[in-house]
Symmetry: C5
Subunit: 294 residues, 5 copies
């Protein structure tokens, strides 16, 4: 995630950052530009379009459809942002949960019981790291992290579902404490909620990751943008001459940018500039849980 000073307009307007849509769209914008020049040339020099030609009135269709296309793009923007923000909320809950879990363990488990306290102090943050890797689908070596942790499966099998295995380890340990009467049944209920919340967060993140917006919308919006832009110079050439080319290119830049940003945002678990800082959040969890339990 890119941190930025929201107030500095000059920076936003004149700097073209690495993630700017204009970079990614540059080739397509150029093609549209050249295509528009071509259309204009044909209309002026070849077809010799005159004032009574039908193309004069084509822009009427474009303004008729401009509402539909704007609204579709805003629908797309809203949907993508909602997914991104839901992802952020889920990781926020993960932070909360991990802290609450640690605070409760700190209060319930005897301060002498070094072993159990260390177990949770290490196992809770591992969950966040495992989830991050799981969502980025790396076969990661977090199982090496901090040496082996007794109570978690010695080697987390990476071909299995890793966060689940950690959750299972956490719950078993809690249940074990209950079996040993180190915590009471009331405390069991309290702690149980924390472990469930972890797997709920994991499942919700998976849902966002593996369910893109329905294919039909994604396909229709792209088709619509292209057809809309490609018919635009036909009507504009008459009105604007060769200047139609930069204008059509600009309209395409605006429409395609919105679709492009939406595509980036709606998948918040990568490591682009717009993606969630899961690495940092995991480290925060590690630090906070450490502060509380060590």
């Amino acid at each position: 995630m890119k941190v930025y000073n929201n107030k500095d307009w000059a920076q936003f307007v004149f700097m073209v950052s690495k993630s700017d849509t204009i970079r990614k769209l540059a080739p397509l914008i150029l093609i549209i530009f050249v295509y528009s020049l071509g259309v204009t040339y044909l209309e002026i020099h070849y077809f010799k379009v005159t004032a009574d030609s039908w193309v004069r009135n084509l822009p009427q269709m474009h303004s008729l459809l401009s509402f539909v296309i704007s609204m579709l793009l805003v629908f797309r923007t809203n949907t993508a942002y909602d997914r991104w923000w839901e992802g952020r909320k889920l990781w926020g809950q993960l932070v909360n949960n991990s802290r609450n879990f640690a605070i409760k363990i700190a209060g319930m488990v005897d301060t002498q019981d070094e072993e159990n306290r260390r177990f949770f102090s290490r196992a809770i943050p591992i969950y966040a790291f495992a989830l991050k890797d799981h969502l980025q689908s790396k076969a990661t070596e977090y199982s090496l992290h901090d040496g082996e942790i007794k109570g978690l499966p010695t080697k987390l099998s990476p071909e299995l579902h890793v966060p689940n295995q950690i959750a299972k380890g956490l719950f078993s340990r809690i249940n074990h404490l209950y079996g040993e009467r180190k915590i009471t049944g009331d405390q069991l209920i309290v702690l149980n909620g924390e472990v469930s919340a972890l797997t709920d967060i994991c499942g919700a993140c998976e849902r966002i990751k593996n369910t893109p917006i329905p294919y039909s919308y994604s396909s229709f919006i792209k088709k619509f943008i292209m057809l809309y832009t490609l018919t635009l110079p036909i009507g504009y050439a008459y009105m604007l001459g060769y200047f139609a080319a930069p204008i059509v290119a600009f309209v395409f830049y605006v429409l395609a940018s919105l679709e492009l940003i939406a595509e980036e945002i709606e998948e918040p678990f990568g490591d682009d500039e717009n993606d969630l800082p899961m690495e940092k959040l995991s480290k925060n969890i590690q630090r906070h849980v450490g502060e509380i339990l060590d």
Copy 2:
């Protein structure tokens, strides 16, 4: 559900996939096209419309109403997408729930108690398969799945509500464990939440399935689109000549596509390309629960 590479614009724009609206709408688009040609012919050669005719100003009405129609379609799109996404969330919860359920059983039930562990290891995923079949209304043979499971009614009567019977079987078994003092009252409360969640998910899916958007909206939007498109060539013929036909056809394609996609999306429990991958999710549940309990 169709998995796709969101970034490949060329594929989206130039390929016409099986589920594309343009295929389904082709006959209607053709009719509109021919109708527009007919209207144009009549206006030009029969009525000989002149510059002072009233039809010159008809497009004013269309642009006046273009906001209303755009907004209605976006309302439709939002509603349909919300239903689809709610369906996806519910199945995501089913995954979470099944995992949590298994994790808790794994922690609570004695590791020696092979019988009970196997019961839950099989009965939990069955719920997901049963729900899938229930939502797709097939008289399915999942009761044969994996042989008979002791503790579930020997033969799930397909004419009864199958998911309910499984939930009843699950809850009875839990209560039985409590009666045998294999789990405590505190653990009972913990497990109880899981079973309730299953039937809540089932009920919510049924609600989405059996309650379409109110008839009045569905009917009004279709009427409105048709009346809007059919009056469009009357005004456009004067301005655009025979080229009015492709333009009217294109406007119709855009408006009708949105309605058509909405219709597909709002019912997420079929087995179209846009529908939820319930089969796959059920298998995931089976695999995860297996990993945890076996």
Copy 3:
């Protein structure tokens, strides 16, 4: 509620069903039509409006305000639909709740304890029927339903709040079971949530029923539609001649339909075509609870 085949466009477009807005609006549309003819006649033959008259430019105001009116109508549509969908969700929860309640009773109450099982098997569905009648404000005879049920007040006083009395009866019985040690304290907590949920659903339905959208909005939207439509022919008569009449009538049909549908939808507890199938849902509850408990 009307069940319909969403895919059959022809049916939607050419059939005018009983609940179609065009039927209800027919008289008003006719009045608007005649009024527009009158305005046009006056402008053409009496005032002899010419090209430099100010009325030529009146449509500018209408297009300026067309955004506001469209957005207001969509706000109205969204609000009404949200109320309708919330009503549907509440009844969905009622179904879930009743099932969960029954499943738990089935697990907790001894299978020999015929009396208690029958009590709940009958009393739970009664709640749904009572709520339906309560929401439709009929002084109904459901108290006769299935003879007297021991444990519910012999005669539910219809002048009192009936669903409350049933909930009170259910809760008393549960508490009684707890007093007799037939269920434990842990089970009491589990069952208690179910009864609370019933009254929460009842209260939420009452809220939807007795709180229409604020008077100011309802009144303003209607005033705005009428003023907008009545000034429309003044500007259109010049441009469109006598054809202004059908066009103004069509614009009015569109705007008023949206308001009319919203009015119907926002009150989902009647027995119109668009209203919720509470009778059917109640019968489903009865059937499912029966399957589980009998």
Copy 4:
């Protein structure tokens, strides 16, 4: 709150009720009307504006900005309505809560224990009345209501936070019952949720009451409406002559009405026509709790 028959359009369109925005805006509308006449007079007789004057094209700006202003007003409308509806939901929850509380007390407390039953039968509805008065900031005498209630502070100090004191009294009594072993620990947990819910509702109502929409939006929208309306006649005078005056006044009426209604709605705890019927709801609570506990 005004109860009204939604279906009677004539009433809405031709009657000007006391709370109609047209009454409150009348002076401002008149000023705008006279101002527009003045601008028109100046343009026609003093500046003698001709067809090539720039003012001819000013309306272009107004139509460019008409989207922005419409959308801002809809944002305003949505926000205000959401606050109003949230207020309504909170009071709905208060009704539910009070009923649930009473139902549970009725089941748990011995039917012989007149004293405790009477305490709750009186103290629960008092909370609703106190909240109403608290939200309307009256130094009220509800402490006199129904004589002194033993167990509540003899005189509720009005300078303190009254609803809090009642909640404290309720919780103390419940805890007292638990101390006297009249209710079990399980029942304590059940009842505890009810008291918490009461203070949560109180806090949420306070939040709505004491947090208006951010000053910047409120100020910007009003400035925008005025600047928009005041520049409107400059461009319209050329096109519409003296008829610009009623048209500008009408546009102002529409825009200002939306802002005005939003202002009224967003503060739902007064005693205007659009405000919530808290008095009535409190009386309903009193009646229902009475039915259940007496």
Copy 5:
């Protein structure tokens, strides 16, 4: 937060308060104004633009894109407002929670147990103050507040996460009470929810604070506004002459204001006029908790 009388339009329209966007935008508006004058001068006196020039038709592009820009700004406005309102809700929950916590402690802890009552009476409000300072990132001296509180870490290390340390202190004390059998297990569960809620609120506030809207949107909207405004005078100069300058400046004022207000609102934890009154809310918590526990 600025408290204001919503009804006084004159104040809003004619007074320019300190936080008004017009002040902050004044330099930029001036630049745009001068730039527009320059463009107009060039077009009229240098390029001598004539009626058949293409620039005559440039405004067509601006009206085509006016929907997109309006909708983007409303998306921005909605998003910012949602963040602000979520922040407000979280602090409202903090108030509720603190009260509920105090009410429960008041009921559970023996009235003689001065020490514990004083501990909670002081420690609960400290949490709110600490959260405020934490969110405003001041290295504050609240640890000095009210002298040392036994049971909280003697000196809250400001370099650690302060609210977490207080929550840990609160939970330890509760668990201690449970260990000493001063509260039962049932009461532990009740109190536990309150402490969890505190850290959940803290985490959610942190999420809002440290996650701005994705960089891509923020950057794209600013670029779009600037490009849109800077090309506007090119088309308007022909139509409006030198009067294009104030009009372009006004359009820029409207668009940039919306972006500017959104920027201020979306970060609700500063101490601007639009920010949340956290200081005041914390003092309220202190007063209410004091009323309840002292």
